[in-house]
Amino acid sequence: MDMPSPSAVILARKAELVAKLAAVLPGDALIQDEAETRAYECDALTAYRCPPMLAVLPRSTQEVSDVLRICHQMGVPVVPRGAGTSLAGGALPTADCVILGVARMNEVLEADYDNRVIRVQTGRTNLSVSGAVEEEDFFYAPDPSSQLACAIAGNIAMNSGGAHCLKYGVTTNNLMGVTMVMMDGTVVEIGGAHLDAGGLDLLGVICGSEGQLGVVTEATLRILRKPEGARPVLIGYDSNEVAGACVSDIIKAGVLPVAIEFMDRPCIEACEAFAKAGYPMCEALLIIEVEGSPEEIDHQLGLIIEIARSHNPVELREAQDADEAGRIWLGRKSAFGAMGQINDYMCLDGTIPVTELPYVLRRIGELSKQYGLGVANVFHAGDGNMHPLILFDANKPGDLELCEDMGADILKLCVEVGGCLTGEHGVGVEKRDLMLHQYSPEDLEAQLKVKDVFDPHWLLNPAKVFPLSVTEGRRAVELSK
């Protein structure tokens, strides 16, 4: 994986930059010691590492603005960072960049139950946003698997989803307003506690822009009242096709579960060995969760079970109490940990039309044989967001490269059947070079034009999202300055 060579001009001006930043930041907010900058050398995509030139940890929008203004004046690239949990390398530094971490900005600014919104600083973790409104029985809906650690800043940058977004939507559907600092230090306010910010939908294009358009320091988020209750059902089938057909029938029947999760045999076996959740050994497992009052849950589960039965399940288990519900979710929630226990793995994130599920699973099986690498599938079936886990041996020379090639083939397959490269993890550096499989050069040019407007000198997270060959002209202008 290529990253642009660091600029000698910028590296030579490090001392000058440090002096300027030190004038606007408290001492503990500026990290320049090599041993300490190493902490920011990678995010959760640990295969790629590079310590930044500097890291800064501002505590206010004003400090963020000062840092960006200085970096803008000196032509120094800035890589924004939330909690560093990106699986796509979205926060991977370059050697000549400043890492701008928002982790110290984690306050709740206002919880407004009458208007059902919360305003937070974006360094706050996803789960602690819900935590802040839990006493009033409210919650923040998007729930990425990393929600204990990941920051709202990163959620906005990647437009994060989660298991329950089938009903509640992803970040962009729950984000109402932001305070954002532009690369030149200008602070802008977009949207707020009212719906549908006026003018062009800038909020919509900022969300998911992977930190390339601005640094969001505060966010107004929609909060919802918790449902009265929730209960899952577990259904096992002896083929992936049948499980896929069951999912499609449930959706067609007008039931809208909050989550439909799918696991295949390799994943079931790994989870069972790891978590001992008591899963049946079969080809495909569905976990379907519905919400409401006890009677409403009974009714919806009744409909789901009727549809499930018509497809002859090998197992059907309805949770009778919280303990059983917990056991049904236990394996699924530990799936990634379980796979990590037995193997190195690479987690993919393509999305496909739900109707293509059986075909895509069959093709993934064929690719697995062709490459000689195992694949376990665990994913959000209701919205077609797949997470194939390709198993490889990091100590075996060539295995990582083989795994990456196979991953690329699976993602190309997702695009071929009408889907996309990434459903919720983002492009980052990981899928950057596959973008031309989904988009034509003209399609990408339209996206680049957006960045040209927000960040004309291409200083914010410049080497991500788009193939380097496509952005070279734009980035090169800056380096030659």
Partner: protein, 370 residues
């Protein structure tokens, strides 16, 4: 003088029309929504037809000029619908013509259910459009979750054709619920009505509509879903909201919400009509400031429809944050005031920058959006 109308029948023809344009173009779907700019009319009605509909995947792909009525009829056959409940502007504006799906998304037209399930922009999954230089651009796709590159889909939703002419849209649809019910609370003033709606929207009963009619002094709360569940939740809401006023279930729920969606209370009444989006709890202060002839409230108080004498700039009277759009007004008023809320300077600069990039000649609906 009768305007010439350009009516391409394919995306290729749309490219030619835009690339060859010698002056400003007024991009139009059905032309029912009162957003007309100067220039030669470029109708998308020739780009019509549903290209793909997968009920099991809750997705549809249609050409931009496809009539909304055709789409709704097709969805109804599979028991599905456009859940964001797009308003029909014809009654309020006295316009005729056939609303198109491209127009719905270009203007981000949503109805009462916006508070629960999202706006038109939240349902738009993918677009194809032709920018001002005649380039075809696609963005997004037809899957529910997609973070591959920048979300130009959202940017196009609500851009009113200023960044490009939509040629194709793909969008999410949802099942039609088995039943709906509406609980009304009367006889209440605006301040109590906002409390009623806030309490309902903050309940666990999944409210899909919350409106208030000051003429009848009734607040309305809608729930939808399976019959037994709707009955249960209607009972619970009736009990919980009784502290604010007399609660009762409305007989003709669907008709009531169609009226709220289309602002039928203002039909046939003289004056300009403004649509204002504010924080719901600001509705009371706003109503005091506006000095309007008539008001209607949706979205729990967050969407305010105001009827005022011709030519008044209502934005000057708002006094709270939010934004106002002049939905109905004479050509002179629209020209003088502008239909859209002016943006703060840094945002206006970004918007102008985007328009200059996507439409370098400034020919696409050039009079719209400031």
């Amino acid at each position: 003088m009768k305007k010439m109308m350009l009516k391409p029948k394919s995306e290729t023809e749309l490219v030619e029309v835009i690339a060859d344009a010698g002056g400003p173009l007024c991009i139009q779907g059905g032309g029912t929504r009162g957003f007309a700019s100067d220039g030669e009319v470029l109708s998308t009605r020739g780009l019509s037809g549903v290209e793909l509909y997968e009920p099991g995947a809750l997705t549809m792909v249609a050409r931009a000029g496809t009539p909304v009525a055709e789409i709704e009829a097709l969805l109804a056959q599979s028991g599905q619908r456009l859940a964001f409940e797009p308003m029909d502007h014809r009654g309020l504006l006295g316009s005729d013509g056939e609303p198109t799906i491209g127009g719905v998304f270009a203007a981000n037209v949503s109805g009462p259910r916006r508070i629960q399930c999202g706006a038109a922009r939240d349902f738009l999954l993918g677009v194809r459009f032709v920018d001002g230089a005649g380039h075809v651009v696609k963005n997004g796709g037809r899957v529910m979750k997609n973070v591959t590159g920048y979300d130009l889909v959202k940017l196009m939703a609500g851009a009113h054709g200023t960044l490009g002419a939509l040629s194709e849209v793909s969008f999410k649809v949802l099942p039609e619920p088995e039943a709906e019910a509406t609980v009304q609370v009367g006889d209440v003033g605006l301040s109590v009505a906002v409390q009623v709606m806030s309490a309902a929207l903050g309940s666990p009963y999944d409210v899909t509509g919350a409106g208030y009619d000051p003429d009848t002094r009734k607040a309305y709360v809608r729930i939808e879903g399976f019959s037994s569940s709707v009955a249960y939740r209607a009972d619970r809401l009736s009990a919980d909201l009784a502290q604010f006023g007399e609660t009762q279930q409305v007989e003709r729920s669907a008709d009531l919400w169609r009226g709220i969606r289309d602002v039928s209370a203002f039909y046939g009444r003289e004056g300009d009509v403004w649509r204002i989006s504010v924080k719901p709890s600001d509705a009371v202060a706003l109503a005091d400031q506006l000095q309007a002839d008539a008001l209607q409230f949706d979205w729990g108080g967050g969407l305010v429809w105001a009827l005022v004498p011709e030519g008044v700039d209502l934005r000057a009277r708002m006094g709270v944050s939010g934004h106002a759009t002049l939905v109905r007004g004479s050509a002179e008023t629209r020209m003088r005031l502008g239909q859209f809320h002016p943006q703060p300077a840094p945002l206006a600069a970004i918007s102008a920058g985007l328009r200059a990039k996507f439409d370098p000649r400034g020919i696409l609906n050039s009079g719209l959006m400031g």
